[in-house]
């Protein structure tokens, strides 16, 4: 990439809110990738992970928590190996050491509303559970059933705030009926969280299929 941006013989320093010169499309792409292109408001893809039945976990260990106050996670078509015959879920846990370990103590709190297509509704709440959220029902791919959801995370990178989340999911429950849930959760310890794990509710059973994408929502 030229550093001259239309100026002859003079290199121009570029920065967010301070772009000077004449830009080619390639200049803009490269400056945008370096976060030096002024573009207010961004939904930025951080990483997509695909499950392949080789592990019971999917970890996001570079979540750019120093950049984003709000993260957005989508989970699409995710299933656990044996869940077609057993009730399983995909849990979400946080790490405060970059993914070396994930917090599994009964410190998280949650309050969810569950809705089932068979007419059942229930409140699911706790002031001491071992995960931040769950993606809802998850069943195996052979039954063409899956779990889908989106989760917003707040303050993961703020050491002075608790880490919060909201979730909304839709999936197929064992027995082939819909399970949807929505609600909130918190890890009520003021510290930085710098990795996110999706984990099968039964560690001996892998996440068979599905994808998860983590985005950052940036404001300036």
């Amino acid at each position: 990439m030229s550093k001259e941006y239309g100026y002859i013989g003079k290199e121009v320093t570029q920065a967010f809110r301070s772009n000077k010169g004449i830009f080619t499309p390639q200049d803009i792409i490269e400056l945008d990738q370096e976060n030096k292109w002024t573009n207010f408001g961004q939904l930025e893809l951080i990483q997509t992970q695909n499950a392949d039945d080789s592990s019971s976990t999917l970890d996001f260990t570079s979540i750019k928590e120093n950049i984003y106050n709000v993260h957005f996670l989508t989970v699409n078509n995710m299933s656990i190996t044996s869940a077609g015959t057993n009730s399983r879920s995909i849990l979400v846990r946080l790490s405060n050491n970059g993914g070396t370990s994930f917090i599994s103590s009964s410190t998280y709190q949650r309050a969810h509303q569950q809705c089932f297509s068979n007419g059942s509704f229930s409140e699911v709440k706790s002031t001491g559970i071992s995960y931040l959220n769950l993606t809802g029902a998850a069943t195996n791919s052979t039954a063409t059933l899956s779990s889908n959801c989106y989760i917003y995370f707040y303050n993961l990178g703020d050491s002075t705030k608790y880490s919060f989340s909201t979730v909304h999911s839709s999936g197929q429950q064992k027995g082939n009926y819909l399970k949807s849930h929505f609600g909130s959760a918190v890890y009520p310890v003021a510290e930085t969280h710098n990795a996110i794990r999706l984990v099968s509710s039964t560690s001996s059973e892998n996440i068979e299929i599905g994808s998860a994408s983590l985005y950052g929502i940036r404001s300036f």
């Binding site: 207010f40 961004q42 709440k125 707040y154 608790y162 918190v186």
Partner: protein, 168 residues
């Protein structure tokens, strides 16, 4: 889906309210509220629409929420003909306590339609209990809305970041 920032305001010293404007198209808009902390403990925040530069405080706000709690049975909260929306519940202001949420705003720019909101909010209350606030609301006046005003139930906003995006 992409986001285009329309307006933002980060409060670092107490203010009575925050106003975000810039709604000027029929797109859906998204309001993010991050780290709302009231200057007085156990306060919520409220929302009004802004028209022609001024917040509308007439009795034209209806809403229905589910208040989800980690400690006890959930509550239904609903009201009609209010002078604002309830955005959250009793938010604490001790270390770590705050409210966070996403609001989607529909039909704001359309002067022949009501303005609708959906909301999903998570908070740590003044007793450090988790709560969620999920539901929707409507401003029952067919008018052109250009923004929103956020203000606490009483006293001031101590801190928080408030951002309005257009969904593109």
């Amino acid at each position: 889906m992409g986001l285009l920032q329309v307006s933002t305001n980060t409060v670092t010293s107490a203010v009575a309210s925050v106003t975000l404007t810039g709604i000027n198209s029929d797109d859906v808009y998204m309001l993010t509220i991050n780290n709302f902390v009231p200057s007085t403990d156990a306060q919520d925040f409220k929302i009004r629409v802004v028209e022609s530069g001024s917040p509308n405080s007439t009795s034209n706000y209806d809403y229905a929420h589910k208040l989800l709690r980690s400690d006890t049975t959930y509550n239904n909260t609903s009201a009609t003909n209010q002078t604002s929306f309830d955005g959250t519940s009793s938010t604490g202001n001790a270390t770590g306590e705050c409210s966070n949420g996403i609001f989607y705003i529909y039909n704001a720019n359309n002067s022949s339609e009501f303005t609708y909101f959906t909301q999903e909010v998570v908070l740590a209350s003044h007793t450090t209990l988790l709560a969620g606030f999920q539901g929707g609301g409507v401003f029952t006046s067919a008018s052109q809305v250009e923004g929103v005003q956020i203000f606490p139930g009483t006293d001031n906003i101590q801190s928080g970041t408030f951002t309005l995006f257009k969904i593109i």
